[in-house]
Every structure is written in C-alpha cells, then in structure tokens.
Amino acid sequence: MTFIVTLAHFCEVHGPSMVMCTQAVDSSESPSKYYGSRIPDSQLCESCRLKIPKQMDAQRSDSSGTSPSSSTAASPKEMPDPSTIQTESKTTGSTYVSTQFPTSQHRYSSLRHIIMRIFTIETSSDTNQPLIFGDAKAGYSMALLFKIFDRTARGSERKYSIVVTSDKENDIFANYSLILLNLAKTVDYITTRSVEVTEKAAKNDSTNDVYLRRSAGVPKTKSLVTIMDDQSFFVRLHLLASSLLEELHC
C-alpha cells in the first residue's frame, strides 16, 4: 500500500505545479533516498516554492509561537537551506518525508500528470466535492480543490488542491471517508485561516496604494506561507499529511 499526499497549485506563471509531496518510507528503507535536493530560486516562483523555515528564520520566529531548537550537526551559517521535512512515526515505524518533488522519476511524472488533470481536465460542478480519478499508469487519486481569496491574485483567487494518490485503486475507495474527512477539514482550516489573515491585514492596512499605484493591481505570486501568515505552514501541512498517512497504515 503506497499513498502520496500532494499539495498542488495552479500557478499564474507556471500553470499546474507541485508544491509539496509527502511520502511514507518503510522502516526497511533508508529515508535518504527520498530526500530532495534544493531547487534554485530562479526555477520556481514564490507561489510554487516549498518554503521550509531556515534555521535563521526559525530562530527569528521564536517569538511568534514556534520554539525551534538548533541542531548541533553544523553551525547555522554553514547549513544549506532545508529542502526536506521528515517525521518518524511512533506507531508504524515508517518515516514521512516531504519534499517539493518526489525523487522517483516515475512518481514525479505520475504526479505531474495527475496535477495537470486536476486543474485542466477533471472538473466537477461542485468544487466542494472531491475528484476521484486514475488509471493503471499514473495511479489513483482523490483530490479536493480549494480557492483562496486574494486581491493580488489574478481573478482575486488562488487555486490549490490537496491530492491523495495511491498505487491501488481499491485502497482509495476502501479509505474514502478517512481521506475525505482529512482533506475537507484541512481545506476548511486553510480557507478560514486565510480569510482571517486577509481581514486582519485589511484592518491594519492604512495605505491607499491599491488605488494610487498602477502596479498594485498587477497579479503577484505569493506563497501560502505569506497567505497564512505562518512561516511554519508547510511544516504543519507536512504533519497533517504524515498523520493521514499514519492513519492509512503507511
């Protein structure tokens, strides 16, 4: 049984793109095989990039709730920017690894294909309902699309999707309610939180730039970290995905 949880985004610049994917690594395997290398900033825009708190960021955000602890493996200045998040399961013995892209070529091409379908081919009259589709080549997926209101986005909305992909069709259907409830609750939290952040920002925003500057109306790329006002947002999302994978016995 293999499940992959993916956060996908319809980028205004790059089109359907993968932001983060979480995989389960069996205890018999080495997680290092799944670690993703750092992708140069020039290749990804702000919207598409998986932003993992750097050691310095983490220390800075100490005052805002998170309490990171520094590693003794290297000094902060020597460490490269983190490109992988990992969590060890206390129950299954598996390790859950989140990266921007999967290291496996087959998985990467399958997920690319799935994400392309989610944002272009597969449609539903009710976007609150999940999409379930798949084939024997790319795998079988359940996806829940959601939109985040943002004035700086084209059409004032940013499209995302959380996708759970399995290599077995039966596994997706057998865990339908568990997957769907997790996806729905996560999406619900993200959309609610984003509205709160937007409202809070609107209250605090006393400038009239949006009316005075022409550039203020031009769509801008924006990371979910910014939208959610949480530097550790992707770490939290990784934990949610890990928790779901754990519940799926991965």
Partner: protein, 786 residues
C-alpha cells in the same frame, strides 16, 4: 475510458511503463490502452449513480461496491470492443470484396490491418447508432443497473456472537431448533413436546454437523470477496431452497460461525449498552413510540441505526410497526433509507427486498399440503421435519412467479408493482385471522411512499413456533389447520419482550409462553450499532470531530525543529506530538455474506436463493467469469446446499490455459457470429464445464468415510469422526441453551407453577445464568472453529 485502434489489440498499461517503485493496480484488470497509441479512437462508458450528499451514502452505494461496478464496466468494455471489431472486420471485408471485384476475380479473405500497415489505415469509421441499438449492449447496461440496485438493496450480514449475548442466545436457539426440527434430533427441555418421547430412538441426520465440517475450514475464503481478481480462488456458498424462512435460519447459523472472529463490535460503534429496563413490562408492552421499539427492543440484541442519508431508495416501514396501536402514524419510522428498515431488527438476516409475491403460509396453504410431496429419505411423516418440508414446498410455489419476473420488490413494491391480485391478496391477508387483532386498518392506497407492507410479506419466524396463547405446539407441528398459525408470524408489541409473558399465564398458555421465551429472550446487555448495507460505522460526527481537533492541534502547536545536514541537503525533522490514530474508529466493511436474495448474486459469497430452472446455469456462468477474471491456475468453487434434498454439492471450475479463455458473456446470436467456429466454442464450453461432486447426502451419511478427490489434487475428506465431533459440540450447545431456557422458565414461573421442573432430555436442568451459558457456548464455538 478506453481506446481502440484498427488492430483491436490492447496492451496492459500496468506492465508497460511503470517503474519498480510505482506499480499502480486497478480494481479490475483491464487492457485499457490500444497497442498502438498513435492511431486510436476513444470511447468512454459513463454511469450516473445517484447518491446522497453524505459520505456514508457514497460509501454504501459506490465505493464499497466499486470492484463489482468495475467488473461490470470492464465487461461492457469487452463487449463494445468485440462488437466494433466485428463491425470493422465486416466493413473491411466489404471493402476488400468491392476492391477485388474491380481488380481480380479471385476473392480474398478480409484481414485486420497489422502493425506494418497501420499508418496507411484510415481512421475507424462506424455508422451512427451502431451501439445504441445493440441488443447485447443494452442487456449489459440493464445488468449493470440491476446489479448496482441489488448490491445497494441487499444488506450484508452482521452476527456478533462474540460480544452480544443476545445474538449468541438466538444463534444457539436456532442451532437447537435446527437439530431438533430439521435434523430430527430430540433433546428438547419441553416435556410436553411430542418429540420428547422419542429421545434417542432415531439417530437423525447430521446435516448441520456435516455442513460445518465442510465449510468451517473454508471460512477465511468465504469471507473474502468472490469477485476479487487478485485472488486465485473464489468460494461461494449458495443455499437453495423454496423457503426463505428456513434458509435464513441456516444462513444465520452459518454466518455466525463463519464470521465469528470477524464480526466484532468495536467500542466506537457501540452506542447503547446495559439497558436496565429490558425486563420492564410496562415499557415494553405499552410502546407506542415505534422509534424506541425499533432501536432498543430488537429481538436479537444488536440493533442497528441506519444513517440519515437518502439515496436512491424509497422509504419503507417495518411491518411490525403496524402492530402499533396508532394507525395514523405511518411515517414515524426512524429509517431513512430503503432496506434499512429491516436492519433495525438486529442480527436478523437482513433482506431489503421483501418479495411482494411471497406470503406467509396461510390457513389454506397449510391445509392443502400434500404428504406425497415429501420425498426425503429418512423422513417420517409424524415428525415436524415433514411438516416443514411441506411448508417449504408450498412456500416455494408462491415464490416462483416472483422470481420469474425478476422483480426486486423493495422499491417496486413501494410503487405498487405487481398484479392487482397480488396486492389484493396481500392486503386481504392483513385483515384476516390473526392479523385482525393486531393490525390497524390500511389506508395506504393514496400514499405510495409510505406504503406499509403486509405482515404477510414480513413472515420471518419459524413456522413451528406456536406463538398464540392457547395453541399447543403439537397442533402446529402436526399440521392441523390452525387459524392462528399465520397470525403468530407477525410479532406484536407484546411479544417482543420476554418479561411480559409472566403475567397471567396459566394452563395451556404456559407452553406457548415457553415458546415465546425460547424465541424472544432479551439479554441484559444490548448494543446499538450504526450501519449501512455494507459496513458498520462509528459515528461520523465523532470521526469528523476527532479529525477536526487533530488538525486544529497541529495548526496551533508549538513545533520543535531539528536540522540535520546530509551532505548538500539539509533536513528539517519535526515530531508529531499528536496521539496515534485510533484504529477503533475506522469503519468496518462487512464481508460479502447476505441472507435471502431473490436471485443468485455472484457478488456475494454466502447467500440463499430459490431454485429457478436456470440457477445452475447462472452459477456456472459466474464461475466461468471468475476464472476468466483471475489469473491462470485459478479455481472457482461453489458449494450448493440444497435444503430440500439435504444435499451439499461442490461445483469446481479450474481456469483454462491462457489461450482458452471464453468470450465475455454475450447473446448466443452474437457468439455464433464471432469468428470462432461452433466446434471451437463447444470445445471451450466443454473445457470450462465445472466438476460436480456430492459432498453430503442422506444416502451417504451411513458410510464410514467418503472422500472427494478434487481436480486440483487436494482431497476434501469428510470423515464420520469429524462430523461426529462437530455433532457432539452442537449437541452440547443445544443442551446448554435448553438448560438456560429451563432456568428462565423457572424464574418466570416460581416453584409450584414452573413449567419445567422435570429434567430435560439430557437429564440435567441445573440452573444456569445468561453469562455462564454464553461463556460456555463461546468456548464450544472456539473448539468448533479449531
């Protein structure tokens, strides 16, 4: 979706490009892509399944039945492919002929384009409406709709013997009754029973013990989905009978034992226990609130609540609700979905589809029973066995027309399908005899949706149960026309709890009170389990709340990061502080064991159905489909239990070699027109003919040992010692349950007026309480299961 090219060859996608670490597996193996993808015509089969908005509705109607739906879609795909291929070949033939007429006088055989000349081929063109008007395809679509309907309408069994004392007592009672009345064993604790005088005179059949010895070793395979293509063996058990009541009892006995380890009530599913008012007469006899009654006064301990989703189905009511004194409340039913009405009866073999043409054995039906119908060996007219056989025959007669029509009656019945006479008879029955006193007048012609079925369609108890006060048991057993016989089949409010029997019973009614006690004991502890037709569910609200809390906790947690340097990669490690997921809250899909079905359904591994003329053909066809679906070397077994002949037969079919797979099921006309010659088809059919072995028969019982050499080389041996061992344990179970009821009888009727102060047939009537009795029975069951 699938694609075709002029070669009509398909490649298996899974093996073509997938890597070692990513090998997707579909529910059903199908060649979805054409061999040469550059030139292909695409098709898609669309199915609209109306479901409710709730998750449970989607699970029950689509996801839990997805393998079966996929199977049917793949079959349709195969049929479409064959149809188009045939059309394309004939088109090519015509083109070739017309070309040859101009170029040469020598006709050439038509030829499907090969790889080499694909590029020179034109795109495939077919005439309009070529598939829309096709008979075979229409048939396939019909069968798809019918199948989905039946899957949704046929609830799976849940017999929780492990936890529920109530279910266990009912199960043991059913075993005891079966041994006594169907196998001809006499050890009842009832001293007034006519059979008690004949203790140990006749050995009786060891049908039940033999059945256990055959089926229990296969229980793991029976619990699996017979349509699952990933297996190499599929096993089905089909009980063939004309009497759904008797077969339901046998199904109950078998399912309880086969699924003993699997039917588990988890803590998250259990909603109500320890109902202290279970013996309170007032609360039971005056239950005007049918909702309460349905949920808590289930006859068999585990009651069910259906989910509130409203899918395709039409609402129905329990017929027993009509025994309510309030005739003006036709829609109080807590049931929100079709068939769930019957789920509310606890363990009882749930049948969503109550045949509209079936009816309780009426006065006329019983009096017209002819003794010459009995053709069972070792059968004596004076036994209850004989009366049941006759009952079975007469009952089956009523069922045949229904099955011939192929009606699934739960929703059709609700819409007044069926002939006027059938409906009139059903309505007429309701106001006759025993029903008159308990049934309110029917005013349901105006309301289609709330139409309540006649009690006649809800006949769900042993016919030998003399349930009306004043009717001695022997009168019922000796087939005397009893005006109240059929009336007893419909439980009334006062019959649902055993506590009510202790009041004001004297004289002959004591006997009937024992019978009521025997069949209607209510255990101290009761369960309330939420379920759909396909699974048990923990409260979705709870599950949703747990997940919501988990997400909220993670999103607001203080996270502790650790950074690790792995060469040029930096890894952030974070611990999940949230508690491990609770497996107990996970939904539990029920195994494919069902009760009585109107027709043979290959999707289930245990069922009972009547024996229409084409039952064996249907079984053979499904077995043939099994081996075609599964890989080479696979085996499909069907155990057919014929209750009338008391025979157990094994139909066994081994998969043929790869190149000998039969064509997908299509009409004979189409198969005739396929390129295969008639000889080839006949040969294929011959190779796929299942081997039939007789595993049990009353004729064979006397032999010390008989073996069936199966075609796969394994030997299925049914030894008399094994059967005797099972039989002995079953006898012990019967003895225990009789002792228990004996004790209960003493409790209800204190010394002096007790019904059973004498020893029972085993010479032991020592008191035994519910827990001790159930513990001992469970121990015996564990030894039965090995």
């Amino acid at each position: 979706m699938f694609s075709l090219d002029p070669s009509f060859e398909s490649s298996s996608r899974s093996s073509s490009t997938s890597g070692d670490d990513w090998r997707p597996h579909p529910s059903v193996k199908a060649n979805g892509s054409p061999a040469y993808e550059n030139l292909s015509t695409r098709f898609s089969i669309g199915v609209v399944i109306p479901v409710g908005r709730g998750i449970s509705s989607m699970e029950e109607e689509v996801t839990d039945n997805w393998t079966d739906i996929s199977n049917l879609l793949v079959t349709i795909q195969e049929v479409v492919t064959e149809k188009l291929k045939k059309t394309y070949v004939s088109q090519a033939h015509r083109r070739n002929c017309s070309y040859n007429q101009h170029s040469s006088s020598v006709p050439k055989m038509p030829k499907v384009p090969s790889v080499g000349n694909l590029s020179s081929c034109k795109k495939m063109n077919f005439s309009a409406y070529i598939l829309q008007t096709d008979f075979d395809l229409n048939q396939q679509f019909h069968s798809l709709v019918r199948c989905i309907l039946l899957l949704v309408e046929t609830p799976r069994l849940f017999v929780a013997l492990k936890e529920s004392n109530q279910a266990l007592i009912s199960w043991a009672s059913a075993v005891a009754a079966w041994l006594e009345l169907k196998d001809g064993r006499f050890f009842t604790a009832d001293p007034t029973s006519p059979s008690s005088e004949k203790v140990s005179i006749k050995p009786g059949l060891k049908f039940l013990a033999s059945l256990f010895s055959i089926l229990l070793p296969l229980r793991k395979q029976i619990l699996e989905d017979p349509m699952n293509r990933s297996r190499n063996k599929s096993v089905r058990v089909v009980i063939v009978t004309g009497n759904p009541i008797v077969s339901q009892k046998l199904i109950f006995i078998l399912a309880g034992l086969i699924g003993y380890d699997n039917y588990v009530i988890r803590a998250s599913m259990e909603a109500a226990t320890d109902d202290s008012s279970s013996t309170d007469d007032d609360t039971q006899t005056s239950t005007s609130d049918e909702t309460t009654r349905d949920v808590t006064a289930s006859d068999y301990g585990v009651s069910f609540s259906p989910t509130k989703v409203l899918p395709i189905s039409i609402e129905r009511k329990l017929s027993s609700q009509r025994s309510s004194s309030d005739s003006s409340t036709p829609s109080i039913s807590p049931i929100g979905r079709s068939g769930s009405s019957l789920l509310a009866r606890g363990w009882k073999v749930p049948t969503k589809s109550v045949p509209i043409a079936s009816s309780s054995p009426t006065v006329q039906g019983l009096s017209n029973v002819k003794a010459e119908r009995v053709s069972i060996p070792l059968l004596h007219k004076e036994t209850s066995y004989a009366s049941l056989q006759n009952l079975s025959s007469s009952y089956g007669g009523g069922m045949q027309p229904q099955s011939a029509l192929g009606l699934s009656s739960s929703w059709r019945g609700a819409f007044n399908f069926g002939s006027f006479m059938e409906r009139w008879k059903m309505n007429n029955l309701a106001s006759r005899g025993g029903f008159a006193s308990t049934s309110p007048p029917r005013h349901d012609f105006g309301s289609i949706i709330d139409r309540t079925p006649s009690p006649a369609t809800d006949y769900d108890e042993y016919p030998w149960k003399g349930s009306t006060p004043g009717t001695p048991l022997y009168k019922t057993l000796s087939r005397e026309p009893s005006s109240t016989f059929s009336g007893g089949s419909t439980p009334t409010t006062s019959e649902t709890k055993f506590g009510s029997y202790g009041v004001g019973i004297s004289g002959p009614s004591k006997l009937s009170s024992f019978n009521k006690l025997f069949h209607s004991y209510v255990a101290k502890r009761k369960f309330h389990v939420q379920r759909t037709a396909t699974r048990l569910i923990s409260s979705k609200v709870e599950q949703s709340k747990v997940i919501g809390n988990k997400i909220s906790a993670i999103m607001n947690a203080d996270l502790n990061f650790t950074y690790t340097d792995r060469g040029d990669i930096s890894v952030l490690s974070v611990e999940n502080e949230e508690a491990a997921p609770d497996d107990d809250a996970a939904p539990y899909k029920l195994p494919p064991l069902v009760g009585y079905t109107e027709k043979y359904l290959p999707h289930f591994s245990l069922m009972s159905c009547i024996q229409p003329g084409n039952l064996e053909t249907s079984i053979f066809e499904s077995m043939s489909e099994d081996v075609r679906r599964m890989d080479a070397g696979s085996v499909s077994d069907t155990y057919v239990i014929n209750l009338r002949q008391r025979e157990v037969k094994l139909f066994e079919l081994r998969s043929p070699a790869q190149d000998e797979y039969p064509q997908p099921s299509m009409s004979t006309n189409f198969q005739r027109s396929t390129p295969n010659s008639k000889l080839t088809n006949d040969l294929q059919r011959f190779k796929l003919r299942p081997k039939v072995s007789l595993l049990f028969s009353p004729f064979l019982q006397g032999k010390s040992r008989y073996e069936q050499q199966l075609s796969n080389g394994s030997t299925l041996s049914v030894t008399t010692s094994a059967v005797d061992a099972f039989d002995e344990k079953l006898n012990l179970i019967s003895g225990l349950i009789n002792r228990f009821f004996c004790t209960q009888s003493k409790r209800i009727h204190p010394s002096g007026s007790a019904l059973y102060t004498a020893e029972d047939a085993k010479g032991n009537c020592a008191d035994i309480d519910e827990d001790t009795c159930c513990d001992k029975i469970r121990e015996l069951i564990r030894t039965l299961l090995g």
